[in-house]
Every structure is written in C-alpha cells, then in structure tokens.
C-alpha cells in the first residue's frame, strides 16, 4: 500500500538534505518544517525540478529516479501536478489558456467533465477569460491549483500554496483545500511551516529539520511524539478524525465518534455521517487517576500513559493512547474515519508506535501534578478534555 518511496541525499555545503521516507499513497502528507529545513528542496527533488546526486524515488511502483542506475525522469515526463508558492501562472495567457496549457500536452484527455468539476470546486468558473494580472492573489492560487489538477496527475505536489497570501485570502482558500481533500483520490504532498495548515489538512505528517526527517507518520501520532519539539510547543495539539453521530438539540451539542470512543462538542452544523477534524490542545487536557464521578467536564475518556517528558517551565508533557473501540465505529466516510492506510505506514525514522490504530493524545499538565499523581508510563488513567475546536 505504501506507494511513495523517496530517498535523497544532496550536499550544497551549507545545506544538506538526507531523507529516506516511505509515505502513503492516499490523503494529504504534510512536509512541515521551518525555513531551511529542506522541505521545499525535498518537494523539488520529487518533482525533478532539482536533481539530488544520490536518490531513489518510486511513485506507484514507477521509478522516477534511481541514481545507481543513472535514471532520472525529467519533470515534464513525470505524471504530477505542482502548485508553486507564487501561483506562477503564465502572464501571457488567459485563465482558460493557462488551464488548457497542460491539458493540451497530455495524451489521455480526462474530458471536460472533470475540469468542470474542478472549476466548480475551486469556484473559478467565472474567471476564465481574465488575464492573470487581473486576478486577486487568492484567485490566482486557485487557478494554479486547478491547472495542476486538470492534468489528472498521479500525485499532487504543493509548495506552501498559501504562504504568499494574507490571512483573509488564506481563510478563503483553506475550505477549498479541505474539500479537495475529501474528493481527491491521489496522494498530496503539501509543504508548509504553518501549524494551522497542518491541523486542517494533514493525514500524515513529516517533520523536517536541518535537511532530515525528524518524524513521519499518521498525524496525531506524529503530533504526539515526545522526541519532536512540536509536543513542547505552547500550541501543541492533536487532531482527531471524527464523524458526526448525533445532535443533541436540547443541549445544543453534537456527538462525534472517533476510533477511541465519542466526544460531545458544541453544536456543529453538519449532517450525521459528516467527517470532522477535531483539534484538542494539550493545555486543554487534564488527567485523573479514577473516573471522575462529579465533574462539569463532558468528555472524560479512559486512556493509557505511553510517554512522559519535561515540558516548558513548570510543565510536563504526557503522551496518552485511547484504545480503539470497535463498537463505537460510526457510519460515515470510511476513508477518513478508519485510516485504511494507517497500519501500513512504516516509520523509517525514530521509534515505531506499538499500538497502531489507537488514538494518540497529548496533555500538558504541571510537573507538580504529575509528581503528586505519581504518573508513570503504562498507567491506566482518565483524560478530561476541557475544550475542542472543529477545523472544518
């Protein structure tokens, strides 16, 4: 099931890239890191825009690069779609001609229907006759995404597509990306340095630093890795994939199911069965040794401590797992909910998760509390979740 294998080594003197990744063939894989971490270089190597002297790249069983056999497929022969940080539309062509530029050059024409769908999805149908200079930044980027998708690529590569846009434009495009996410069957590699985009879009997360992959795996597992700086961050959070199972109109609440049970959330305007991404900040999670009987907190779940680490200042970071509850499996989007590829994702970097399929969670508590409760790895505890936020 693993369909992307990417191994690259290059050395520019002041910058070295050295990664060996196995990534899933569906969903959005976010390459996350600060500037200079090598995330864009990695993406460009995958696209063939840059050539790593040492490298092997296999997509869907096809070899795109193998330095040992001196094989390197030039970019224009790779069946990919690429979205640049600046939309990079051809300034001498109308939106329509930009969209058709690639279409004219592929052998199998996917037909007008798919392009129509893409245009509708991205909301750019009315811009067809405009020149790129007469588009807003957000519109330009949407056209660029449509232009890449029009090719019906086997993989979509996106290099910080939102980074050059202001906050408002970002909010304008993110919903489109979420919708794309639900409708695309192809893998997407998405480069960003924004935690917000990670939370909203990622299924799989690769954390890059100094040209190396620190961690790689399903989103909430990678987010909750204690050996990665992300877990200590003030904004540390885990994102769960959940599905709406019922609305409690009387209380203005919505119940959602996830692999480890169910949660009550403030009412969400979504039909039963709708997939949701629920973000839980580590600072909103507290721990109790026994099931609290009298508490105002609705979301109390059994969990097991799987890791403890020092956090910032007075804090301790606790990594927990909520066991999979088969009975709670709710109807809805199986692709989203069950992570069909999750158990296949191998972690080539760092420690491997033992309880694959369980839901990971992070809690930031005070060191004093951790000591008083005598928290230890392996302990069965209860987590109380004070707040959640819905990401889509």
């Amino acid at each position: 099931m693993t369909t992307i294998q990417a191994r690259f080594q290059l050395d520019y003197g002041d910058f070295k890239l050295d990664v060996d990744l196995k990534l899933p063939g569906t969903g959005i894989t976010v390459l996350f890191g600060h500037s200079g971490s090598g995330k864009t270089t990695l993406l460009r190597c995958i696209a063939g825009l840059q050539r790593a002297p040492q490298g092997k790249l296999e997509i869907n069983g096809n070899i795109w690069q193998d330095s040992e056999r001196n094989l390197f497929l030039p970019t224009h022969k790779r069946p990919l779609g690429y979205v640049f940080q600046e939309a990079n539309l051809f300034p001498h062509l109308t939106v329509r001609d930009n969209l058709h530029y690639g279409l004219k050059r592929i052998k199998q024409n996917p037909g007008a229907v798919e392009l129509e769908q893409t245009l509708e999805l991205l909301g750019i149908g009315h811009l067809m006759e405009r020149m790129p200079e007469r588009l807003s930044g957000g519109e330009r980027q949407r056209v660029a995404i449509a232009r890449a998708l029009a090719l019906n690529p086997e993989i979509l590569l996106m290099d910080e597509p939102l980074a050059s846009l202001d906050f408002k434009r970002k909010q304008e495009i993110l919903p489109f990306l979420s919708r794309l996410h639900q409708q695309l069957d192809i893998p997407v590699l998405y480069v960003t340095h924004s935690q917000q985009e990670v939370a909203q879009l990622a299924d799989t997360l690769v954390i890059l630093e100094g040209g190396q992959a620190l961690a790689s795996g399903p989103l909430s597992e990678t987010q909750s890795r204690l050996d990665v700086p992300l877990a200590q961050d003030r904004e540390a959070a885990t994102v769960w994939q959940a599905t709406v199972i019922e609305h409690e109109a009387d209380y203005h609440l919505t119940r959602v199911a996830f692999v480890g049970g169910s949660l009550s959330l403030p009412m969400v305007d979504a039909q039963v069965g709708t997939p949701l991404r629920v973000q839980i900040y580590a600072r909103d999670v507290s721990i109790a040794l026994e099931a609290p009987t009298a508490t105002s907190i609705l979301n109390v779940l059994p969990a097991t401590i799987t890791g403890i680490a020092d956090g910032r200042d007075s804090q301790t970071v606790v990594q927990l797992r909520l066991p999979r509850m088969a009975a709670e499996t709710a109807p809805g989007s199986p692709r989203h909910f069950l992570h069909p590829w999750r158990s296949e994702v191998s972690q080539s970097v760092g420690n491997r998760c033992d309880q694959v399929g369980d839901q990971a969670l992070l809690a930031h508590i005070t060191r004093k509390s951790a000591l008083l409760l005598g928290l230890q790895i392996g302990m069965a505890v209860y987590v109380q979740i004070k707040g959640t936020s819905i990401l889509n």
Binding site: P74, T75, H76, N88, P91, H92, Y101, R105
Partner: protein
C-alpha cells in the same frame, strides 16, 4: 528630389538590412538563449566576442573581414573551394559583414529579456508536461516579445546605418553593394548637398519613426514586465 540611383541604394539598403536581420534572429536567438542559461566557462569569452563590434571602429572589423574573406584568407579559401568565389565586394559578403557588425544589437536585448523571464515560468511549463523545446516556443518566445521587437528593430536600423564596414568589404558598386550611407558620402564628396539632404532626411525620419514605434509598442505591451 531622390534620383533613381538614390532609390536603388535605398532599396538595396533595405534588402541587406532585412536579410541580415532575419539571419541575426535565427543565429542570435539560440546564441542569446545559450548565453542566458549556460554556466559554461566559455560564456565570458563568447559574450565578449559578440559585443566586440560595439566598441571596435567599424573599419577595423571591416579590415579583418576583408582579409579573412579575401583570396588569401581562411574564409576566402573555403568559399573558393566551395566554388562560389570570394565574398568581398559582393551582396552576400555585405550581408555577412552586416550580420557580424549588428549581432550585438540583436543578442543583447534578447539576452536581457530572456533573463528577465526567470526560472519560474520554465518550471511551471515543465510541471505541465512541456518539453524544453516546447517551453521555449510556447512560453519563452511570447514572454520575450518585447525583446524580439527591440532586437529586430535595433538590428535592422543599425544595419541601415552602417558605413565603415560596407566601405571596407562592400566597396561602392552600384546596385550590388552601394547602400544609402555610402551614397550620401558620394553626394557630399561631389558637393551635391541637395541630394545628400534628401537621403539624409529620409534616414533621419526612418530612424526616428522606428524608435518611436518601438518605444510606443514596448510601453503598451501587456507583458513588458516579466512574471506577475
């Protein structure tokens, strides 16, 4: 008024300039593209050679061409071996000399507009399945339109105005190598100031119109600025 002989020289001048410009575009485009893209050690040398006519007195260039194309020169021996005789004082010789003389006026604007395009549109085209050659014609050429316009007009106008090189390799043969600039010189030598005025006026008006058209066109060109 312009005499029939004057009109002939005008016609010949435009013929030389048109053919030379066409040749310069054909040769200069790949040369300029190569100079823009290459990291080769030869880049500096080739750049300098192409730019030489900008600083060299035309008579010096003409002198070397005369020697090289003459019966004892390398080019002359080659053309003799080909069976076409020697090139000095012929129309083809004049065209070749013009090409070498005006080439920097074609190559340099092209180079400037090629490098203004930058890497980005080329990469976008590659991700949209366009081969490098395809990219050149579908992206580079349209985006470099102002460069091609400037190159053609400057190359043409500069060839029309050449004098020293023509005198050295073309001489002053009516209907074969006698171009306008030489004809003006002939008129002045013969103290025919009236005739000289007419021809000079035509050239002045021509040059001014050409530059006016060029600057107007560049100003209103939609992609005068490279990428958005």
């Amino acid at each position: 008024m312009l005499s029939p002989a004057d009109l002939d020289t005008l016609l010949l001048t435009f013929k030389v300039a048109s053919i030379a410009t066409l040749l310069m575009l054909v040769l200069g485009t790949p040369l300029a593209w190569w100079l823009t893209r290459t990291h080769s050690a030869w880049k500096g040398i080739i750049n300098a050679v192409v730019a030489l006519p900008l600083v060299l007195p035309p008579t010096v260039l003409g002198f070397y061409l005369l020697v090289l194309m003459g019966p004892a020169g390398a080019i002359g021996k080659f053309t003799t071996w080909l069976g076409v005789g020697t090139l000095p004082f012929t129309f083809p010789g004049l065209v070749i000399a013009s090409v070498l003389y005006s080439l920097p006026f074609v190559v340099q604007p092209l180079q400037a507009s090629f490098s203004a395009i930058g890497e980005q549109p080329l990469e976008a085209a590659a991700t949209l399945r366009a081969s490098p050659l395809d990219t050149f014609f579908s992206v580079v050429v349209p985006l470099a339109k102002p460069g091609f316009l400037t190159a053609s007009i400057l190359g043409f106008a500069h060839t029309v105005g050449e004098f020293g090189v023509v005198l050295m390799v073309g001489g002053n043969i009516p209907d074969k190598t006698r171009v306008v600039s030489v004809q003006i010189y002939n008129h002045v030598e013969a103290l025919e100031y009236n005739e000289a005025h007419w021809l000079a006026g035509v050239l002045l008006l021509f040059s001014f119109s050409v530059l006016l058209v060029l600057y107007t066109a560049l100003k209103s060109h939609p992609v005068a600025h490279p990428l958005k």
